[in-house]
């Protein structure tokens, strides 16, 4: 347990779901044998290898069930970022003879946006669909952006920084009408809300285990049967030849177990998360002045509460919260050290200065109502102290006097 400077154990409240959830104890138990005696390589013909093969195929079934897919359409990869790279690059290259235009939203994850930059070097062209003040994409805008050259649309299912859930079913139907492939980055959504690839009508979907109590390094890409995709790692015949490399059996087993639990507990987990989240979403702006909710107030992930705190900077808030034992983030973990204001908040039209005060809480399963109370108590003095030393707050107070 973490200790304070004076030796007392410190309270630890983890509210950084978007950076990764803790492992479910049953997931750890399921994984352990594959880190120990069941160490075989699934491609080996001997029984130790076959045991591992059985385990990963069982996991494939479980992941498929979570999103209502066929098992054969699940490809295991090493991270949500890999799944996104795989989808965008693999689908783009496989279908480039039809055209080289791809449509994205302006709030996609770095792994999509930077894959797009890479593809630009190969002559692909991208359109970025804007979002409204809540971070919502309008399916009509997608329809308008489609040209004869468009081969692929990739829009995320839910945004990790602001929690907004996109109208993916409608966007997928726009794409289907025009016979264009549709991929969705569902990393922040799968395992936390019900996701059904058939009902949504998507061609490809990314998911990651560390967003629903599975291990880091466990993720999958769903590619609907019949949709061509270029292999992402060339080599052996693993993952039906589309993603070579010896399988990370413990991670895959962990992902399968996490998917199984998520499916069983989805409803009750969502209810629990929502109760705590709604309390935080309502009471934090009441506890401190000039705190604004970011993202959509209703159409959002059940565990997700995000804010902009005016006149203070995100990192200073996070360090102070951490000193109180509270783990939160100011945006995607992939950008938290990049020092730049979030492209997501800017795309939503939030002012640069305000975007610097971004704060994201993601509630995890173990959190309690008392934890939220503790946060609501600890937060106001931190902000008061930071504002006292903020020249922007001083400016605001002086302007108010006038």
């Amino acid at each position: 347990m973490t200790k304070r400077a004076n030796g007392e154990p410190m309270k630890r409240i983890y509210l950084d779901h978007i950076a990764g959830t803790p492992l479910h104890p049953d997931v750890v138990d399921a994984m352990l044998p594959y880190l120990k005696e069941k160490f075989g390589n699934p491609q080996s013909l001997h029984s130790i290898g076959q045991e591992a093969l059985e385990a990963i195929e069982e996991s494939r079934d479980k992941v498929a069930r979570l999103i209502n897919a066929e098992s054969a359409d699940i490809l295991f990869v090493s991270s949500g970022s890999e799944a996104n790279n795989f989808a965008l690059k693999g689908l783009a290259f496989a279908h480039q003879s039809r055209g080289k235009h791809i449509i994205l939203s302006s709030i996609e994850h770095q792994s999509i946006l930077h894959s797009a930059k890479y593809l630009e070097k190969f002559g692909f062209r991208f359109s970025h669909i804007p979002v409204d003040e809540y971070g919502l994409v309008d399916p009509e805008d997608v329809r308008k952006a489609i040209t004869d050259e468009t081969i692929l649309v990739s829009i995320m299912l839910a945004n990790g920084e602001v929690g907004t859930i996109e109208p993916i079913g409608e966007i997928a139907s726009v794409c289907r009408d025009k016979d264009i492939l549709f991929h969705t980055d569902a990393v922040d959504a799968v395992g936390n809300i019900s996701v059904d690839v058939r009902a949504l009508g998507v061609d490809a979907l990314s998911l990651a285990g560390n967003q629903f109590y599975g291990p880091k390094g466990s993720a999958a890409l769903y590619v609907k049967k019949g949709r061509r995709i270029l292999p992402f790692i060339d080599g052996g015949i693993q993952e039906s030849g589309r993603r070579a490399g010896t399988e990370d059996v413990p991670a895959i087993v962990g992902l399968g177990k996490a998917a199984e639990i998520a499916l069983q507990e989805m409803e009750s987990r969502m209810e629990r998360m929502k109760t705590l989240r709604n309390k935080l979403m309502k009471q934090l702006p009441q506890a401190v002045e000039h705190v604004f909710l970011t993202g959509h107030p209703e159409r959002r992930l059940p565990h997700h509460a995000s804010f902009c705190v005016e006149y203070v900077e995100g990192e200073a808030m996070l360090l102070n919260l951490d000193l109180k034992g509270i783990s939160a983030s100011s945006g995607s973990a992939c950008t938290s050290r990049a020092l730049k204001a979030s492209h997501v908040l800017l795309a939503m039209g939030i002012d640069h200065a305000l975007a610097q005060g971004s704060l994201v809480f993601g509630i995890v399963d173990e959190a309690t109502s008392e934890d939220i109370d503790y946060l609501l108590d600890a937060f106001p003095p931190i902000i008061e102290r930071l504002r006292k030393m903020s020249p922007l707050y001083t400016q605001y107070l002086e302007e108010k006097k006038k």
Partner: protein, 188 residues
Amino acid sequence: MIYTEKVMDHFQNPRNVGTMKDADGVGQVGNPVCGDMMTFYIKIKDNHIDDVKFQTFGCGAAIAVSSMVSEMAIGKTIEEALKITNRSVAEELGGLPKNKMHCSNLGADALHKAIENYQERQKAKQDPPKKSEDKESCYCPYCDGPIEGMENYCEMCKVEFEDCPECNKPMNKKADKCPHCGATKVRV
């Protein structure tokens, strides 16, 4: 922890925070766009820095650097204080993460700007005031980083500039409000 113990100490217990009503010099650097903004106030007595107050909007490093600079400056002569460099501040703090060195640049710059402001005021008392050359144009108005090569583009914060129609100083092409004069750009 990404910061040294000394940085965390200055971050948690910043010295000399505040404003100064009768300051002899005031210096402001940075802009919220890049995440850091500092205002330094100095009081001069017998060519010595008698007191410093500061306010900072920014990350942990920016707050710690401001505090450290204020502590280092108090008691020094003006000449000595002008010799406080970004590197000496970072060293005094036991080092800063690489991507935070930018914050230490701001700290020393803010102090130097306050001293320049004091010196200008002194000069103005002796000579009739005349318009000084605007040297800000070679620094990014958002992050205060030097602008090299392409004149209308800051490598550090990736912002493209155009001249503000009101005050002719560089402003973010995409911004609606000029950081210098506060003029609101009318979009056509």
